[in-house]
């Protein structure tokens, strides 16, 4: 099936950026979030690699992951033009669409707290005009028309099966100019050192609330399991306080907190909606079970909802591409964390030692993988995570020390998990234009 979209002729694009400026002028309000980006692969101009520039905004994909995954149903396709439209008034500013879009089309506007993105200049097109970027391209490298569907693998663009409305006409001249700059082993090494700087879309600084929230949810479900199976004592006050904390943490992340209720609207398709709805149901039914004499049914519902929430959490991250993408991550919430704490809270040695051992093994296998590049400074954290977050508490469990020691062991495990989970967020490598291409390909400044 063919559909309309942008056609980019890379033979004609010299990264002049007129398209970006034209877009900004025709669609004001992009001061903090520019819709169109010209990505130049090989911005450091490594000899032997050609420089290819791609002007990309939204490709209005057939199987658009933004719409699929948006919890608030802020995206809808315009039936007349096929353009994927985003309604800012519906957006809660969770930014998940920026994680799932491989073309970086949705842009988070920190000023307004919501996403905005390319509209294909629908208003202009309705008046018979071309999209502003197309009209503004002085070399004719951009067009809007029948794209047929992406025809080949495009260097610099992630391979996807989401059928983007983008046609890239490859450059007719294959390769870089013949030239004579010599590459010595020292330059090659320097390139490996400075050339692999890829901007991260997910930053721990911005997402620490998610680290805290996901870990808290795992603890809450594990603790509730222990209480429900009568292996731990109930504390309504403690649970209530943790519930409030969890709700606060989950909302803090949003650009528009007042619209948080919209987060469950896309339960049918979005794992984010499922996570949010599941968590709400868990808190509600667990609370009901604790304070109301309605028998065990609310408790069972709470358990199911709790596990479903944690499963959804892992699925949210499985939906995006990250290095070593696997359900079996040592910091996985449903896959490991919750069962370790269930084993701990309930005193089930085989479960506790089994899961903890497996997590330690996975961590050891994984740790060297992400320690590449300039992250030597984090080596200390790895050692801390293994020594203080695994070995020490494991040894302490061998001592019979009573409740205060159990408290220390729990804190040590939590400290280790905090590192592990933070690393998980740091490892997330989301598909972006320019990624997955030979090293050193990145955005050209200027």
């Amino acid at each position: 099936m063919s559909h309309t979209g942008f056609i980019v002729d890379t033979s004609r694009c010299v990264a002049c950026k007129a398209c970006v400026v034209a877009c900004q002028l025709a669609n004001p309000g992009q001061d903090h979030a520019v819709w169109r980006t010209v990505t130049s692969m090989n911005g450091l101009r490594y000899p032997g690699l050609s420089l290819v520039s791609l002007s990309v905004a939204c490709n209005h994909c057939e199987d658009a992951p933004c719409a699929e995954n948006c919890p608030a149903r802020a995206y809808r396709r315009d039936p007349a033009t096929g353009v994927m439209m985003h309604t800012e008034e519906h957006c809660i500013g969770c930014r998940y669409c920026t994680w799932v879009c491989p073309y970086d089309a949705p842009k988070f506007n920190s000023a307004s707290g919501v996403i905005s993105k390319c509209t294909g200049c629908q208003p202009r097109q309705a008046e018979g005009m071309k999209p502003a970027c197309v009209e503004g391209c002085p070399t004719g490298a951009l067009a809007w028309g029948d794209v047929g569907g992406i025809d080949a693998e495009v260097p610099g663009l992630p391979r996807t099966a989401i059928r983007p409305g983008l046609k890239v006409i490859p450059g007719r001249k294959n390769g870089q100019p013949r030239m004579a700059v010599r590459i010595t082993p020292a330059i090659e090494a320097y390139f490996q050192d400075v050339g692999v700087v890829e901007p991260k879309k997910v930053s721990l600084n911005e997402e620490w609330t998610l680290v805290a929230f996901t870990m808290l949810a795992a603890l809450q479900v594990a603790w509730f399991y222990a209480v429900f199976t009568e292996r731990a004592e109930m504390s309504v006050l403690g649970f209530g306080l943790s519930a409030l904390t969890g709700l606060m943490l989950s909302v803090m992340h949003l650009g528009r907190k007042g619209r948080a209720w919209r987060a469950i609207l896309n339960f049918r398709r979005s794992w984010v909606s499922r996570e949010v709805a599941g968590y709400g149901l868990f808190l509600l039914s667990a609370g009901v079970w604790m304070v109301l004499p309605w028998g065990s049914t609310p408790g069972w519902i709470a358990l199911l909802a709790g596990f479903f929430t944690l499963w959804s959490m892992d699925m949210v991250y499985l939906r995006i591409a990250w290095q070593g993408r696997s359900f079996l991550h040592s910091a996985g919430i449903f896959s490991f964390m919750v069962f370790m704490y269930i084993g701990f809270f309930c005193g089930i040695p085989w479960l506790f030692y089994g899961v903890t051992g497996l997590r330690l093994l996975l961590y050891l296998l994984r740790a060297p993988v992400w320690r590449h590049g300039n992250r030597d400074s984090l080596r200390g954290l790895v050692i801390f995570r293994i020594g203080v977050g695994f070995i020490l508490p494991l040894l302490l469990t061998l001592i019979d020390g009573g409740a205060w020691l159990d408290g220390i062991i729990l804190l040590l495990f939590l400290a280790g998990d905090l590192i592990d989970r933070s690393e998980f967020y740091m490892e997330i490598e989301i598909m972006s234009p320019g990624k997955g291409t030979p090293s050193g390909w990145g955005t050209l400044s200027g």
Binding site: V21, L44, P47, G136, P138, V181, Y190, S445
Partner: protein
């Protein structure tokens, strides 16, 4: 929302025609104008950003006076013009009119600019400038060789089979040329770029040669003699149309490809490939940029390049041209460039005293009898743009009073006592040409100036009133400042030159009668011999250079640990213009210097580190970037940064004239680089 046709007046090859959309008197859109065949794709990012520039918060819309704290306060026109008139009268009485220094530059092209000269003549004269910052060495080289400066129409590039871009980066400085190059490439044309950098233009070339800066003439002469010795040149063309071949042949006898490769420090194989292309592919368009002739050997270098087009008969045919500057649309100039840059070319004795633009600070300080006391600057930013900023500032500080007319508080405006707000390109009728395409362009007044902006015509007329000139005298010397008066004035001026001028070309881009699509197609050349002057006695007489094109090493050469400073133009600016706009700054947020990877390793510099560029002239602290394809031994710091945003490259340059044409040898600059 109505659309109006207009044209960009910036100092740029493209000189785009474009359509301006307005809504209730406000500029709302800028769109391509298909009527101009050369720029039909529409303006570049700078042209589009006029919407921001027109309404920018930092635009000056009132007269401003510097206060004691160094800031600027709004004053009235009466206060401004009263103060200026008082100062002018006092200086003229005590020191004579030549203590007034009138500095104008290329900030905005147009016929209305002539009002400045007319005013200062009425005033009794002033010290002015000679020379030019940009292109005169090359203009003079081409003039001496071909008689004047013409080249084939931009779209003729499609007919070329070999396009040799020598020190030109149209992808950033002439984006519309890329369209024609790309069309030629689609037909199989080979593109070769010669540039120490791998520019966005080099990226789409087939072959990139990266000579040592300032050695381009050696490359050309090596290939030239290779063509001669191996009988690879167009004998028929040379015999019939070229003067001085024998003398040239003898003068280049010592040159060959090996020597060229050694002097330029390029692998021989690449030089051989280029020589083979030049000998074997016809027609060739050779497109030299303007950067390469801003060396102390710039004129002779362009003459050396010309020999390649001449020997291969690549002149006066479709697809075959020496594509330096096309002044065919400069139909209103009484004296054409580069002659207009000669000191003393202005016949009016009131302008007898001139100061070199290339050695501005030195010339201003050296002026005695009378010394300079008052400076009036318009359409220019000499503090940032002329060599040796430090000396320029010192020379300005020696004056008693400084006035600058500008749209923004530039480095020069900040060094002034009174700054008068300048009109934008949308605020007065005007007419421009282009030095690339053949069109004459009308630029109508579309917008009412904001605040209290006066066009320069009105500024001068009102100032004349403050100086006590009668309305009769003013009318006799200066054109009318009102819209209708200016329009009929332009109609009269243009009509005197071409009939279509009386209707201002119907508002359309106009190719004047007699403009050649293929320049010199008749193979008659307006030189002393009527032929191509491969050797030029005039060159030897005027400039004390070899009558044959020759290679002269630069005045300075980097020693161990020193670098050639390259200060190219980027797509983001026209010299120091546009850098203040957020639409532009997003791509170029802070000045930076680019090092070759090998040099960065040697200096222990990583991208983002702070470095200092320094030499005897001055120093600059800036951010380091790394380019793995830049020629080793070069450091790139782009032209156009002002001191107010981190430092003009001209803190590092020396006031030096080119070998011919009174140009400016910015690029003989050597710097050291220190990691901070």
């Amino acid at each position: 929302m109505p659309l109006f046709r207009t044209a960009c007046p910036r100092n740029c090859y493209s000189s785009c025609s474009f359509l301006a959309r307005t809504d209730n008197g406000r500029l709302t859109g800028i769109e391509p104008d298909p009527e101009n065949r050369a720029t039909a794709g529409g303006p570049c990012l700078k042209g589009l950003s006029y919407i921001e520039r027109q309404y920018a918060n930092d635009r000056l819309i009132y007269p401003m006076a510097r206060n004691r704290r160094g800031g600027f306060d709004r004053i009235t026109w009466e206060e401004a013009l009263g103060e200026i008139a008082g100062r002018l009268t006092e200086v003229r009485e005590r020191h004579g009119p030549h203590a007034i220094f009138f500095y104008e530059s290329s900030g905005m092209a147009g016929l209305t600019n002539g009002v400045g000269s007319n005013f200062w003549k009425m005033f009794g004269g002033a010290t002015t400038t000679y020379g030019n910052l940009c292109w005169p060495a090359g203009l003079e080289a081409v003039r001496l060789t071909l008689g004047d400066n013409r080249h084939n129409a931009p779209w003729d590039l499609e007919n070329s089979r070999l396009i040799l871009l020598w020190g030109k980066n149209p992808a950033e400085t002439n984006i519309h040329q890329v369209v024609f190059i790309e069309k030629a490439m689609a037909k199989g044309t080979k593109v070769v770029v010669v540039d120490p950098r791998r520019t966005p233009t080099g990226d789409f070339a087939h072959l990139l040669l990266q000579p040592k800066p300032g050695t381009d003439a050696a490359l050309a002469l090596g290939i030239a003699n290779h063509l001669i010795r191996n009988d690879l040149y167009d004998k028929a063309f040379v015999e019939r149309h070229v003067n001085g071949f024998d003398r040239f042949r003898d003068s280049v006898a010592e040159w060959n490809l090996e020597k060229a490769a050694a002097v330029c420090d390029i692998p021989l194989a690449l030089v051989e490939e280029l020589a083979g292309d030049i000998a074997g592919i016809f027609p060739m368009t050779l497109i030299p940029g303007y950067g390469m002739q801003r060396f102390s050997n710039g004129g002779q270098t362009i003459r050396a390049l010309l020999t390649l087009s001449i020997l291969t008969g690549n002149i006066g045919k479709p697809g075959a041209t020496f594509h330096y500057a096309n002044l065919q649309s400069f139909i209103f100039d009484k004296i054409k460039e580069p002659l207009s840059y000669y000191p003393g070319i202005e016949p009016n004795p009131l302008f007898r005293r001139t100061v070199s633009k290339a050695r501005l600070g030195e010339g201003m300080l050296a002026a005695t009898a009378p010394p300079l006391k008052f400076m009036w600057t318009e359409r220019g930013n000499p503090v940032a743009q002329n060599p040796d900023s430090t000396l320029t500032i010192r020379a300005m500080q020696q004056l008693d009073f400084r006035v600058t007319v500008d749209q923004f508080l530039t480095d020069t405006a900040r060094a002034s006592d009174i700054v008068l707000p300048a009109k934008s390109m949308f605020e007065q009728d005007d007419i421009t040409g282009s030095y690339w395409h053949p069109y004459v362009l009308f630029r109508p007044k579309l917008l009412t100036p904001p605040g209290e902006v006066y066009n320069e015509t009105r500024i001068y007329r009102e100032l004349a009133g403050f100086l006590g000139y009668s309305t009769d005298e003013i009318d006799r010397h200066l054109p009318p400042a009102d819209d209708e008066g200016m329009r009929s004035h332009l109609q009269r001026m243009a009509g005197e030159v071409i009939p279509a001028g009386t209707e201002l070309f119907g508002g359309l881009p106009l190719i004047p009668d007699g403009s050649e699509e293929v320049a010199y197609a008749s193979l008659h050349f307006p030189t002393p011999s009527g032929k191509v002057e491969l050797c030029s006695e005039a060159a030897a007489a005027l400039w004390k250079v070899d009558s044959a094109p020759s290679y002269t090493p630069l005045t300075t050469s980097p020693e161990q640990g020193e670098f050639h400073l390259l200060t190219p133009n980027t797509k983001n600016r026209i010299h120091s213009q546009f850098g203040n706009l957020s639409l532009i700054r997003q791509f170029d947020p802070e000045p930076h210097a680019t090092l070759a990877a090998a040099d960065a390793i040697a200096l222990g510099v990583r991208p983002g580190d702070r470095i200092r560029l320094h030499n005897d002239q001055g120093s600059l602290e800036t951010k380091a970037e790394v380019d793995f394809s830049l020629r080793q031994g070069c450091v790139v710091y782009c032209n156009g940064y002002q001191n107010l945003e981190g430092g003009s490259p001209n803190r590092l340059t020396t006031g030096l004239e080119t070998d011919m044409g009174y140009g400016t040898a910015f690029h003989d600059t050597i710097v050291k680089v220190t990691k901070l």
